[in-house]
């Protein structure tokens, strides 16, 4: 268990380092283009050279990488070209907004998909099972940007129940959170429900379930006390891995609804070639993704006694 944890953390650190090298090479390999991006296309040759001199860009690339890495680890991400403030000043509040969105999505998605998955998996091949399976195929086939358009047309244009943008201009507004959450849940619950169903179906064929039924336990007790505990191990991993997916989903949803979150920031940074902001956003995104993978792996081992004690 402890060895596994160490292994996973080592993998995490190595991944982060490799990603940071790749990002650095991709974005900062040529100092000239960095200076052009920072100072704008109309800056003069002398201005650029002066800036490069001041910021140590005439050092060899590995020296630059390590000084960049050193600054990065201590939380100095440089200055955003677009927002004209230190990157950390824009990054953390935006990330906070995305956390709010993400928590809301999970609070709705997890209970919904688990219940549907368990109901479908309890009796494989039943009418309910087929209905839930087909519904989840359909909802997973509608990409987030399309369901955003469908739901906006329905709730904003025809019913006029909800606001069409989520800029939160007048402070936090729960109503503005409804559509983004709905779009993300709609796309993802089908997948988690199918995974839960598969896990439940597998558990239901186990001999100990048959034993429990044959010894006369009431059916709901068999499900709640015997089946669920084992059936929920796999969905735990799946749910943790959904955080990685959510990082992609929020980009689309935040862009569509003008929600001031991390995903919209990353997109804006990329479209404007705001290199220091791209670097910071990408590293944060990869960190979150790798960290949740680590938690999923370690958690799976912890929850599954057959692996834990072997």
């Amino acid at each position: 268990m402890f060895v596994l944890l160490l292994k996973r953390i080592a993998f995490m650190v190595i991944t982060m380092i490799v990603v940071s090298v790749l990002l650095f090479l991709l974005l900062e390999i040529s100092p000239g283009s960095v200076a052009t991006k920072v100072l704008g296309p109309y800056s003069s040759e002398e201005q650029r050279n002066l800036w490069l001199e001041q910021h140590g860009y005439f050092e060899p690339i590995y020296v630059r990488y390590f000084s960049w890495l050193g600054n990065f680890v201590t939380g100095d991400f440089g200055e955003s070209i677009r927002f004209k403030v230190p990157v950390s000043e824009v990054l953390w509040p935006r990330l906070g907004n995305t956390v709010i969105l993400g928590v809301a999505v999970f609070a709705v998605m997890i209970p919904l998909s688990l219940v549907l998955g368990i109901l479908a998996g309890m009796r494989e091949g039943s009418k309910l099972d087929r209905t839930i399976s087909v519904t989840s195929i359909i909802t997973t086939s509608v990409p987030e940007f399309a369901s955003a358009v469908f739901l906006s047309a329905l709730f904003v244009f025809w019913l006029k129940w909800l606001p069409g943008t989520s800029g939160m201009a007048e402070g936090f507004n729960l109503k503005e959170l409804v559509l983004p959450v709905m779009v993300l849940v709609l796309y993802d619950f089908g997948y988690v429900a199918r995974m839960t169903r598969a896990s439940m179906v597998e558990v239901m064929t186990m001999p100990y379930i048959r034993t429990a039924v044959l010894k006369g336990l009431p059916y709901n007790k068999v499900i709640l006390k015997h089946a669920l505990r084992n059936a929920l191990v796999a969905p735990f991993t799946v749910i943790m891995l959904q955080i990685n997916w959510l990082l992609s989903g929020v980009i689309i949803v935040e862009f569509f609804f003008a929600y001031k979150g991390f995903g919209a920031l990353l997109l804006e940074a990329s479209l404007n070639q705001d290199i220091f902001l791209i670097e910071a956003c990408a590293m944060v995104a990869v960190f979150v993704a790798v960290a949740t993978q680590t938690i999923a792996d370690v958690g799976y081992t912890y929850l599954n006694p057959r692996i834990r004690f072997s």
Binding site: P143, F145, A146, F157, G164, L247, I252
Partner: protein, 279 residues
């Protein structure tokens, strides 16, 4: 031949049949775009026309027009060509790279496997859209670059599946027989092993095609797709989404088109999987 046979078996799965039907429908639309498209997809005729409006110079805008007056139905019809050319092309390139990586990793084992697997782990740990956005924003949006980005992001996943299948197949008798005959390693991988791994790969390819269509749509939607003015479903949604509150039809129909095509591939994959599990 067995591949054909499993497509013939598709008749037994109504889910798969519906999926295949949707895909065939869009392929026909793309092939006969010239014949069935009522207007020129690039011509600016009459802006903000609602669906069903009659055009003064003849014809009806069945699905309305967009903000600069182009007929939406015609753009949808021509846009099906874009997606049905780029999605299979990108999936195919990703598969070629992924299969070669997977065969090498699974058959050679050792350091080849270690290196390829670690590279895949790292690429797969990226949130996929973050990867696409950074790649496309850096190398620029064009058809070729979209294919490169999709190959880069999808090949590792394909490699993992192929590697797993190869690890299972490499110990079979017919592989040992080929080795005894002195066949070259690549011949064994491509002629002996690969054809026997095709079942799960075909199902995965259908699902992946769905994802690639989503990706192409998302990139267009985010403004990172194919450069205008050629009709592209994702791009159509991007251009008109600001007007979606007042004129929802402009973005609604491209969304329906793209969702139906993705659904087609997902249903087909489900049907094929159901059949492959049966025997």
């Amino acid at each position: 031949m067995r591949t054909l046979a499993s497509f013939a078996l598709l008749r037994e799965s109504w889910v798969g049949m519906i999926g295949a039907g949707i895909i065939v429908f869009w392929i026909l639309v793309a092939v006969f775009a010239q014949l069935i498209s009522p207007f020129d997809p690039l011509a600016t005729l009459q802006p903000f026309a609602k669906p069903g409006t009659t055009y003064a110079k003849g014809g009806i805008f069945l699905l309305g027009t967009d903000h600069i007056g182009r007929d939406i139905l015609s753009r949808l019809i021509w846009g099906s060509r874009t997606v049905l050319v780029y999605a299979p092309l990108a999936t195919f390139t990703a598969y070629v790279v992924g299969i070669l990586m997977g065969l090498a990793a699974g058959y050679r084992r050792g350091w080849v496997d270690d290196v390829l697997s670690r590279i895949s782990d790292i690429i797969l740990s990226f949130p996929v859209l973050v990867l696409y956005i950074i790649i496309i924003a850096t190398i620029g949006a064009s058809g070729v670059n979209i294919i490169i980005a999709i190959t880069f992001a999808s090949a590792p996943g394909i490699m993992r599946i192929v590697r797993g299948l190869v690890l299972d197949l490499r110990n079979r008798d017919y592989v040992a027989a080929a080795q005894t005959r002195g066949e070259s390693a690549w011949r064994i991988m491509l002629v002996e092993i690969l054809p026997n791994a095709r079942g799960p790969l075909i199902v995965d390819a259908c699902l992946r095609m769905g994802y690639v269509i989503i990706t192409i749509g998302v990139l267009g939607f985010l403004g990172l797709g194919l450069p205008p003015p050629d009709p592209d479903w994702g791009g159509m949604i991007n251009e008109t989404r600001q007007m979606a509150m007042a004129f929802p039809h402009m973005a609604l129909f491209p969304c329906m088109a793209i969702s139906s095509l993705i659904l087609g591939f997902n249903l087909l994959a489900d049907g094929l999987r159901e059949i492959s599990l049966r025997d």
